[in-house]
């Protein structure tokens, strides 16, 4: 499955992810925890959607349900019109977590090639693709290094290259920049926006940072905790791809959006109260 066909399969307006009335209850010894309560969300093909909210509001849980790493207690989820399991087995999505999760015994190049190798791409094709991807994330000279020879930010870039290796039409990312310093983080944000514009992938992106969510997203989904619910969906509308450059961070429309998301977050926990777990930078 190449990028071009993937994007053509799902023209704009098509639905990438549809979450309907989904609840997830974890039954523990200390009583049941409702991580998600009747959540509805639709992500269009090619759309960048961020999930933000206080710690424990179910962002990761929602992402894991879409990725079929967990099953909902009730409600239904579809990914490009299929069940999450079918989508997973069809390699419809790429995924990246807060930790890079590279295999320490594989070189950087072999790590990027892993999903391709698992899905039967030939050796030549893998090499070529990995070379291209490493170029893209600025690690062309590090293909033969091992993960423990890279900095945290470089590892995370490898993980992102691995996530987009098969040019998936959906990217699921759970705080992929969470462990990085601010400078690396902003540079990777620009790279990610550019990559997504190129591959026209839909993205569901979990973050704790309001500026990050605003800079990256078409829409920001603000969630509230206990039980995890969608509180508000903020449309950002700052344009796509090349329109989002470093300069955007100093634009007034950007600040307005930051304020709107911040207010939406505050609204959920009572006026003026601090939002647990969310950075208000």
């Amino acid at each position: 499955m190449s990028a071009a066909t993937a994007a053509q399969d799902h023209p704009r307006g098509a639905v990438a992810v549809s979450v309907e009335d989904v609840s997830r209850v974890f039954g523990g010894s200390g009583g049941a925890v409702t991580a998600l309560d009747q959540v509805d969300l639709t992500v269009a093909a090619g759309e960048f959607v961020s999930l933000i909210g206080p710690s424990g509001c179910g962002k990761s849980t929602l992402l894991r349900l879409v990725a079929d790493l967990d099953r909902p207690t009730s409600g239904s989820i579809s990914v490009f019109g299929r069940t999450p399991e079918q989508a997973r087995l069809a390699h419809d999505y790429g995924i990246a977590f807060q930790q890079a999760g590279l295999l320490p015994w594989r070189t950087v190049r072999a790590n990027v090639e892993l999903p391709l190798a698992l899905h039967g791409v030939g050796k030549g094709g893998r090499r070529e693709r990995a070379g291209h991807l490493l170029d893209l994330v600025g690690l062309a000279d590090f293909g033969d290094h091992f993960p423990d020879q890279l900095s945290g930010g470089m590892q995370q870039r490898v993980a992102i290259a691995r996530a987009i290796a098969e040019e998936p039409s959906l990217l699921l990312m759970d705080e992929p920049f969470g462990a990085l310093d601010e400078m690396t983080r902003e540079r990777l944000q620009v790279e990610l926006v550019r990559l997504c514009a190129q591959t026209r992938a839909a993205v569901v992106f979990v973050t704790h940072s309001i500026p990050e969510a605003v800079f990256l997203s078409d829409r920001v989904v603000v969630m509230s905790a206990r039980p995890g619910r969608i509180q508000e969906v903020v449309d950002i509308g700052l344009g796509r791809g090349t329109e989002r450059e470093e300069g955007l961070r100093e634009d007034t429309s950007y600040f307005e959006s930051v304020t709107r998301v911040r207010e939406a977050l505050h609204g959920g926990s009572g006026a003026g109260a601090t939002v647990r777990g969310a950075e208000l930078r």
Binding site: A67, D68, L69, R88, L89, A90, H91, Y93, I95, F97, Q99, A100, G101, L102, L103, P104, W105, L114, P115, A117, L118, H119, F146, P147, D148, G152, Q155, Q156, A179
Partner: protein
């Protein structure tokens, strides 16, 4: 290379240390040893009980027996050690393969782990001596076509019974070692059990398996010698230890020669097994944290 040499130097120093301790005790220890009531807790230091190290070494070039044409003692010991080495290696391979199969089976099916792991642990409490006649008896009845059960096969089976244990336990831990992040990654790629085993679990198990197969090597040597003694198999170091014990009074340095052979055997097997780790360096890289 430099580290290799340093390791070798340390090994030689350790051997010299053992010899020095031996001589020091012989020099300072009481002639009749030291007993608490009837039980002797420290050995006698007479030349009969504890010959000098140089006497043991000096005995090696002398002929095995007084009979004309007898080979030197060291040749006989080396021959016996070579025989035992072959048996120990066979039992090591057998133990590693069987142990690994157990580990993979236990990893695959939780039910198997729950059922088999306690038995595996329990199996090691059965003394080898009790097992030997059983295996020998079963083996004697095996005859398939042109294949006839040989005595050394019983020894190899008994020794592998000791060798498989650390491999089964170590490999199981190694196969179960990958973090949830890596397991979920494989799941997200739609990788089945087999690809997850090959791409993730096996490579991740290497740091656990290498020490396990080293232990298995030591167990194979001990198991081979003990099994040779208890099944009475001629040709190996075990039987030689038994035979030469009769010369304790007439030729006190002689019984120590096969012990030197056993030490040599252990060192050789340890060396051979550690060669297995050499091409696997990349799988021993420190787990990355970020």
């Amino acid at each position: 290379m430099r580290r290799r040499l340093a390791d070798l130097g340390l090994g030689v120093a350790a051997l010299l240390g053992v010899a020095a301790t031996w001589e020091l005790y012989k020099l300072l220890g009481p002639e009749q040893g030291w007993s608490v009531r009837e039980v002797r807790v420290l050995p006698r230091t007479t030349d009969l009980a504890m010959p000098h190290v140089w006497e043991m070494l000096g005995r090696l070039p002398e002929p095995l027996t007084g009979a004309p044409g007898a080979v030197p003692l060291w040749v006989a010991v080396l021959q016996a050690s070579g025989f035992s080495l072959a048996v120990a290696l066979v039992s090591w391979v057998l133990g590693v393969v069987v142990g690994f199969c157990f580990a993979v089976g236990m990893q695959r099916f939780a039910l198997v782990e729950a059922a088999v792991l306690p038995l595996v642990v329990l199996s090691q409490t059965v003394p080898l001596i009790a097992l030997a006649p059983l295996v020998k008896g079963w083996g004697g009845r095996v005859e398939i076509g042109g294949f006839a059960w040989q005595g050394w096969m019983s020894v190899a089976v008994i020794a592998s019974y000791l060798a498989f244990f650390p491999v089964a336990v170590g490999a199981l831990r190694g196969l179960q070692s990958p973090d949830s992040i890596h397991r979920e990654l494989m799941r997200a790629y739609g990788a089945g059990w087999w690809s997850t085993l090959v791409r993730l679990r096996l490579p991740a198990s290497v740091p656990y398996v290498l020490p396990a197969i080293r232990l298995a090597g030591a167990n194979a040597v001990v198991g081979t010698i003990v099994a040779e003694v208890s099944t009475g198999l001629p040709g190996g170091v075990g039987r030689m230890i038994l035979e030469f014990a009769n010369f304790a009074s007439s030729d006190p340095a002689k019984p120590w020669a096969p012990l030197l052979g056993a030490v040599l055997l252990g060192l050789l097997v340890a060396g051979l097994v550690s060669l297995v780790g050499l091409p696997l360096g990349r799988y021993r890289r420190a787990e990355v944290t970020a």
